[in-house]
Amino acid sequence: MLEIRNLHVQIEDKKILNGLSLTVNDGEVAAIMGPNGSGKSTLSYVIAGKEDYEVLDGEILLDGQNLLEMEPDARAAAGVFLAFQYPLEIPGVATMTFLKAALNAQRKARGEGELSTPEFMKKVRAGAERLHIPQDMLKRALNVGFSGGEKKRMEILQMALLEPRFCILDETDSGLDIDALKIAADGVNALRDPKRSFLVITHYQRLLNYIVPDTVHVMANGRVVKSGGKELALELEANGYADYRSQAA
């Protein structure tokens, strides 16, 4: 279970999160929607541990562990995974090398042995196939020259491989064509598990037809201003954020 309590965050003297509280239960898929600049990506970075942000108040607990006291890599080993809104390119590091380094680093941090190369290759190949990622892409430098959609699918592949406990998907649907959207959603759905939770950030109700959320939260001005079931997404699609902007201000 992830619990965020009264989170206040600023960057370069600019307040972005203003007392945000949110709980995501085991096995739950929670969707977050909200206008541009409301702080959705900031929230995802703060959960994952990006250093640029100053946490003024509040706490983030994953199964009772205080994430804010942990380094980003320790959070990853504890099961936090962020699929980036804008995945980064790493010239000179083959995707396969990167995947192996990440998986083995997490296993080591958890006191598990390294995966043998054949075991690892088998896992990656199977995951790539499911996401329609061609094998030769795995030999190329990570994300370098990948299309927007390919980068997003690569994030899902990493997620599948690392088997995190808590997955954050920051606008994974943006940049995906209709077929790729279904493939990515299938990839996510295959990972749904009573012990795994998801925080799905999106602007479009359409994604939620494929990844059906248990809860939907509306974020505005750095806070969750309304929570409901999946019907809330349909309501937002019809009416926009006008009501919530005024409410939060």
Partner: protein, 437 residues
């Protein structure tokens, strides 16, 4: 204007006294050595007001010129025999120990067909036909090169016959021994005849923490249509002062690639002089330096496009930790009639230490109008956003940094075509990065 005679430093005086003391036993013609000595005597040790030595003030940093190394004893040679060489087993090797070519440690009988190998001292002494080419490729108005020309004691001459295609690299080991700082002046000449193809891999090996002083010159002279890969590994001898010159003179339709890796010595200066003597040749000069503490590594190169239709590429990578200093000076000269020259030079540095320094000085001297030439230099820290991305995937900070640095240096290292050599070099880089963890 009044003539100012600069004060001689202790090291200069020692070097000036050295030549008269040993010249009687140096092999070969006396006259060229005397001329080189006179040139050195006039110039003195290079200092920061000598443009090509702007960032490496040898006059200031070389306190003492070490005495000439003694020829190694049988016991010393026995010890060298037991030490594993970095490129051991990858190809036939020739060893130069403390300034002397050592046939007993060299695979003279294992030389492949088409390769002739002779000791330099012997060749100079007997007036061997190949000895006439010594000094043809390394020509520059440079005091360190002049010192080598005056004082070289020994080395190797290699001739690769026309059309010979070598599968395995030829290895030349420069080995230093002993716990007292000593100087060695050595030279290697590689003559590559028309259409031949090979990899020449040098290693510089020595005890860590001893302030040995090396002045080595490697000359490469090729006929037309030759392909030469050159590799230089300097990963040993933590206390050493290593001055080296690579002189290359290429015929037409040739390809020459060089990669130099520096991790260990306290002070290195690697200077490269390339002259295109024939058209349609390509040169690719590359290097990586991983430095920490107060190490200093200088690469200074001059590529002279004396003829049209040639291509030159330079890619140098510095990783500077602690208070280390990196220097890259690259000059591409395009002579008036050298049309269709294509030159691109890039130097990149990552500063890991707050007190690390990188000095970049790329220069283009273009006297022809129909050319494509460019240079660039970058210097900075590792990208924080990339670091976060890697850490968010579970890599601890030092591991994430190591992966990024490996990729950074890897871009230059991948120019080494021989896989077996490249593997060893990658291992050296990895070991350096692991030592930081």
């Amino acid at each position: 204007m009044a003539q100012v005679t600069p004060m001689r430093t202790a090291a200069e005086t020692q070097l000036l006294d050295l030549f008269p003391a040993v010249k009687a036993r140096l092999p070969g013609a006396a006259e060229p050595r005397q001329q080189a000595y006179d040139a050195f005597a006039k110039a003195g040790l290079p200092h920061r007001r000598v443009e090509a030595w702007k960032y490496t003030d040898l006059r200031a940093s070389l306190r003492e010129a070490a005495p000439l190394a003694d020829a190694p004893s049988a016991a010393v040679l026995g010890e060298v025999r037991t030490k594993a060489a970095p490129f051991a087993g990858l190809g036939p090797a020739l060893a130069i120990v403390d300034g002397m070519f050592e046939p007993s440690l060299s695979d003279l009988h294992g030389m492949p067909a088409g390769v002739q190998a002779v000791g330099l001292a012997g060749a100079l002494g007997t007036g061997h036909a190949l000895a006439a080419q010594v000094g043809q490729a390394a020509q520059a108005d440079d005091a360190v090169l002049a010192l080598n020309a005056a004082l070289m004691t020994d080395g190797v001459i290699l001739r690769v016959a026309a059309g010979t295609q070598l599968e395995r690299p030829l290895v030349v080991r420069f080995v230093r021994t002993g716990s007292q700082a000593r100087a060695a002046f050595t030279r290697v000449l590689l003559v590559v005849e028309e259409g031949a193809s090979l990899t020449l891999a040098e290693t510089h090996e020595g005890p860590a923490g001893v302030g040995h002083q090396d002045n080595t010159v490697v000359e490469v002279i090729t006929g037309d249509k030759a392909t030469v890969q050159h590799v230089r590994l300097n990963a040993d001898g933590g206390g050493a002062v290593d001055l080296s010159t690579l002189g290359v003179k290429l015929g037409a339709d040739c390809a020459f690639t060089s990669f130099a890796l520096v991790t260990a010595p306290a002070l290195t200066r690697h200077q490269i002089f390339v002259t295109f003597a024939g058209e349609n040749s390509r040169v690719s000069l590359n290097g990586g330096a991983l430095l920490k503490g107060r190490q200093h590594a200088d690469t200074t190169l001059v590529v002279n496009h004396a003829v049209p239709h040639c291509e030159s590429r330079e890619l140098y990578k510095h990783v500077l930790d602690g208070e280390a200093t990196g220097v890259f000076q690259g000059k591409i000269i395009v002579e008036p009639h050298a049309q269709k020259t294509d030159g691109q030079m890039m130097s990149q540095a990552v500063l890991l230490g707050d007190n690390a320094t990188m000095n970049n000085k790329p220069e283009l001297e273009i006297f022809a109008d129909d050319v494509v030439c460019a240079h660039g230099a970058t210097c900075g820290q590792l990208d924080d956003d990339l670091l976060f991305y890697l850490r968010a995937r579970g890599l601890p900070k030092p591991d994430a940094e190591a992966l990024m640095l490996q990729a950074f240096v890897g871009e230059a290292l991948e120019k080494v075509e021989d896989e077996s050599i490249r593997d060893v070099l990658e291992g050296v880089v990895e070991a350096w990065l692991r030592a930081r963890l």
